[in-house]
Subunit: 247 residues, 2 copies
Amino acid sequence: MGPGTPGKVYLVGAGPGAADLLTVRAARLIEGADIVFHDALVSEEILALARHAELMSVGKRHGRHSAAQDRINAQMIEAAARHRVVVRLKGGDPMLFGRAQEEIDALRGAGIEYEVVPGVSAAFAASAVLGVSLTRRGIARSVVFVTPRVGEGEGPSRWADAARGADTVVLYMAAHEAPAVAQALIKSGRDPGMPVAILENISLADEKRQFRLLGELARTDAGRMGPALLLVGEICREAMHGAQPGN
Amino acid sequence: MGPGTPGKVYLVGAGPGAADLLTVRAARLIEGADIVFHDALVSEEILALARHAELMSVGKRHGRHSAAQDRINAQMIEAAARHRVVVRLKGGDPMLFGRAQEEIDALRGAGIEYEVVPGVSAAFAASAVLGVSLTRRGIARSVVFVTPRVGEGEGPSRWADAARGADTVVLYMAAHEAPAVAQALIKSGRDPGMPVAILENISLADEKRQFRLLGELARTDAGRMGPALLLVGEICREAMHGAQPGN
């Protein structure tokens, strides 16, 4: 395609990892894409669907500098001038902790047509594999999703405040800071005896699950954990006690 | 199938409504199902995928009595004795405000194999169609999902407390109580000038979007709105001002 006939950019949620947990719309777009820009966390089995596409790995696992974001924006705009179907793949759902807004604003500014395709966020896949409802009746009537950035010069208080009132707390990209996160939650008033589920690579063959009490986690050496999801709340207690089925 | 060779029950998220926003796994299960139990809110285009299945409409639009839930549980268990693939379809994701836990517990108690298939919850589809990130950088670092049950004898304070600290508040099944919800949020400290997006039938042909300021909504006569999603937060301001693109 020449200039003057720009393509369309699809910001697509890649879901938790398993290819069949993509939406039907997402799978079709990836299969038909001319070029795919993807984060490091998008799984191999999903990238394998992009049979006709040039694959561009962008983004870093931890944090992302503005310069890198500007470069991604410029690459997508440039790609839309050359290709009909440009897919920007983001783990989970693009609109939750995915920095999609910067990319949308850049595409709007450049007059490029775009569409956001939602995806299954990791919390829902975690809830499914554990067999525990995020809003179990009688135990949880609210759930908050936060990302603690303890290391970014902001104190823990703001995200802990956000987490304070909700029954179930889901923490994204929290594993590296897990002990500090647990300490902050206890300081904000959470019971140290509250269960925490820690999940990695949900829905994939190398899925890992651990359970801790919040007080134990606060004293743990986080070590070198990959990007993981923390589910904090009474909803996890039965699963922690091994009551979950082998389904 | 005879007794002693029970089938499997799949608790499947139907997503926001469009058939191609089902996950690939969900679409395949619905297409292969022998029997499908579905809520009133599951869309026609999704039910049309269940070509070989007996369709059983269960559940009510507002609230659900324990007796009705017990009956659904019993019907699913009975169906699993007769059929190989039993699908229980719930709008959005089954584990968020879906009363999935009662059904899981009943299936476990009866020794029936089950699997939960996550889905795209309405908040993510709403975020996608509006083109606004739920966690827009610099504006929102947390999002809380709540369902206010103002009419169920519980005061508004508990869910409003849960909503207090989070930057973005998503209210499910809130439209009927929208003015009371807005009043409670203002009372809990939210700015009456905060924008609210009200969405119905997201992703379907008859999708409806409205925008109000929280203070306006508090003075509105809710009238007879269908089950709708409220998105409350600064993230909605640009969309409210018509800055969203025609994508």
